[in-house]
Amino acid sequence: MRTIVSNYINKTTKAAPLAAFRILFGLMMFISIVRFWSYGWIAKLYINPKFHFTYYGFEWVQPLGEFTYLLFFICALSTIGIALGYKYKLAIITFFLSFTYIELMDKTTYLNHYYFISLLSFIMIFLPAGVYFSLDAKNDNTKRFEYIPKWTIDVVKLLLCIVYFYAGLAKLNSEWLVHAMPLKIWLPGKYDLPLIGDLLHKPWIIYAFSWCGALYDLTIPFLLIYKRTRLFAFMLVVVFHVLTRVLFPIGMFPYIMIVSALIFFDASVHQKLLNYLGRLFKASTEKFNNGITLLYKPLTSKVKFGLLSIFFFIQLVFPFRYLAYPGELFWTEEGFRFSWRVMLMEKAGIAQFKVVDSQTGETLHIDNMEHLTVFQEKQMATQPDFILEYAHYLKEHYSTQGKTDPEIYVESYVALNGRRSKPYIDPKVNLAEQRDSFKPKNWLLPFEDEIKGF
């Protein structure tokens, strides 16, 4: 075992794939941030709201007012550093920290693909992505290597495989496979698409999309790994993600996944890409082909490899944490985030809050629009941790408005995947007295239905 591992650690390969990945990753991130900025989302999502929903344990991460723009600027700057391979280490660390900070500012905007970017940029801190076809390596020949340890490329592939495979596992449930939910709700709404629009309400089409989607997620890692199916698999990746782009408002994610999947190709493909870029920008790759292999000191190698092993162990286990909670995952959402559960639910809700003065008994209903944006209200109404955090905010707010020790109650209804809406939170529980924790939330009302599967 020990020899298998150490043999594997010592395997080397061309540095080109990782260098190409670095360039494309930096570029995609740069475009993503410019796009985000140009849509005015920085102000809309992070500056204008009066109140922000924080992650448990990260309540201190708050938007920085007007300086939030500076944060995005720094983040954008670091993506250029990554793409050029200029002060790569500093650039990737800056990117990881600034991007993750941005995502932690308000969980209203949580997306699995932002989480994926955070994880990917974290592991890239430990990878020698800047040793080939980079400004760093061009300027300093001691940082220039043509070959790198093979595992440093494999970890990127592993992360991608986990994302796909877990997303596929999460679809193996009765909602997705038996009821074709939530696609049965979403697809007919795309009736106005050219060519296929008129078919999208037909049950067999909806089932075909559901089943193909699950099958795609589960098999694509293997099809990409296996050399003889790779080209075909990549074509599937392109078709699948372009299709999701057409059908759903998922921003840059499809493009990021398409570009990321290129890492599975042989070094020769990346070499050609880099040679082409080299000709384009008059920066020949020749200089970097020095035949030298990057060899980590045994200790460095062990530490890096060990650290990433722990990282991946957590990644493999963490999505299953929902098993530790009672109740239906889709209903309680305890353990739903950070688990590659993508596009699984259509959930809508409404939450009418009531503030009661504990001395006078005076009761006041809250107009959520006064405190939250439409987006925040939408997210809040279906997720217990949001509801609780908002209840505490209301308690604080109305304490300063002359209410004595206000009690907060909510009457809420949630509809999941086309079911009739049902009461969601126990309306008799004073939420001001409840504390958030990793424990099950016993003030949630039961789902009274069963969803089988993962």
Binding site: G189, Y191, A348
Partner: protein
């Protein structure tokens, strides 16, 4: 490696099979015809509604002219009934804040209450006002006219007297009625000169499509202006104590019920696609929901929502004609009407929006 290759071929065949489908002609579609629904809304409900509304406003303007000439009690009574007719007529179109109505914020200039008597008086006194400014919204529209023709004094003779002694009151009154008329004409003209076609052509599924927008406008109206404005706010749902003088048509006082019931009837008629003239019924949300229902998703929402409309209407019908009196004598009845209205917010905004895949307004961030 034969099985794997076979698998991949199958997979690709499935996927491409699933994604092709251009061979089927667009005609003879068995899909729900949203275009027909938009046409029904425009031709049989919205445009006739605005036509009737502008007719009632013309009558209001004529009654105002007549009253300003004579300042007689008789003409005041006629004017008042013209005002009520127009106010009732307004309840049928208030929910359609789309297109020109949205652009000129028709509702905010037509029916903001409580009205501000001080601003009205100072406008009259100084003669220096601009009714096009947003700040003057609280001093115009039906509530401001309500104040002038019902709230200026304790009886009709004194009110008529006030107008005959101070002609500037009549000037302001006719400024208000003609402003209402201008606003309504602007909207109706826009529907007649091209907006109808724009509205019908925009039959897609995006957030800015006509179906998506109008359902959101409808919902906003129901939740904010009908449920909260007419019932919830005066009943004190959102405040520490009831606000009985925040009822609609406070100065006339005994018509807040008829205004609510008219509005609720109009909301239900729209849901069911009933023509404005009541002669027939066409495609609307009920048919759309039934179509989705037949395809296997969602329960029989149409029935649930209609039952709930009935319940809310029957609750409302037991209320006093004067909501301010109702609130002071037995607010519990108001609150129970509010609850009946609230239940349909849940059924429509949660269940119906989900079933029809309508996105809540302007959440244009990325999804997963």
């Amino acid at each position: 490696m034969k099985p794997l290759r076979l698998g991949t071929i199958l997979l690709s065949a499935l996927l491409f099979w699933a994604c092709s489908g251009d061979d089927e002609p667009q005609i003879n579609s068995d899909n729900f015809d949203r275009g027909a629904m938009l046409i029904n809304w425009a031709d049989n409900i919205i445009i006739p509604g605005y036509k009737a509304y502008t007719v009632s406003l013309k009558a209001l303007n004529e009654a105002t002219v007549a009253f300003n000439e004579t300042s007689s009690v008789d003409d005041l009574v006629t004017l008042r009934s013209a005002w009520l007719e127009a106010y009732i007529s307004w309840q049928m179109v208030s929910m359609f804040e789309i297109g020109k109505a949205e652009a000129i914020t028709l509702r905010d200039f037509t029916n903001i209450y409580p009205t501000n008597a001080e601003t009205i008086e100072s406008n009259i006194l100084t003669g220096d006002y601009n009714l096009e400014l947003p700040s003057s919204r609280v001093a115009q529209g039906f509530p401001a006219i309500d104040y002038l023709i019902n709230g200026l004094a304790s009886d009709d003779a004194l009110i008529a007297d006030k107008f005959s002694q101070n002609p500037q009151y009549g000037t302001y009154l006719s400024a208000l009625t003609s402003r209402l008329n201008t606003l309504a004409e602007t909207v109706l003209e826009d529907w007649s000169n091209g907006y109808r076609e724009t509205f019908i052509a925009n039959d897609g599924s995006s957030a800015t499509s006509s179906v998506n927008k109008l359902i959101n406008d409808y919902m906003l109206y129901y939740e904010k202006f009908l449920r909260a404005g007419k019932v919830g706010i005066p009943a004190g749902v959102f405040s520490n104590t009831p606000l009985s003088d925040n009822v609609e048509a406070y100065h006339k006082n005994d018509v807040s019920k008829v205004l609510l019931i008219t509005a609720l009837d109009a909301v239900r008629a729209f849901f069911n696609g009933d023509f404005f003239d009541g002669s027939s019924s066409g495609q609307s949300l009920d048919d759309y929901l039934n179509f989705v229902h037949e395809n296997g998703s969602s329960e029989d929402l149409v029935k649930l929502i209609n039952n709930q409309f009935d319940l809310a209407l029957s609750k409302a019908s037991t209320l006093s004609n004067s909501f301010s009196q109702q609130i002071e004598s037995n607010n519990q009845e108001m609150l129970s009407t509010y609850d009946a209205l609230q239940t349909n917010v849940v059924l429509m905004k949660v269940d119906m929006f989900q079933a029809l895949n309508i996105k809540v307004d302007f959440v244009d961030a990325d999804g997963d």
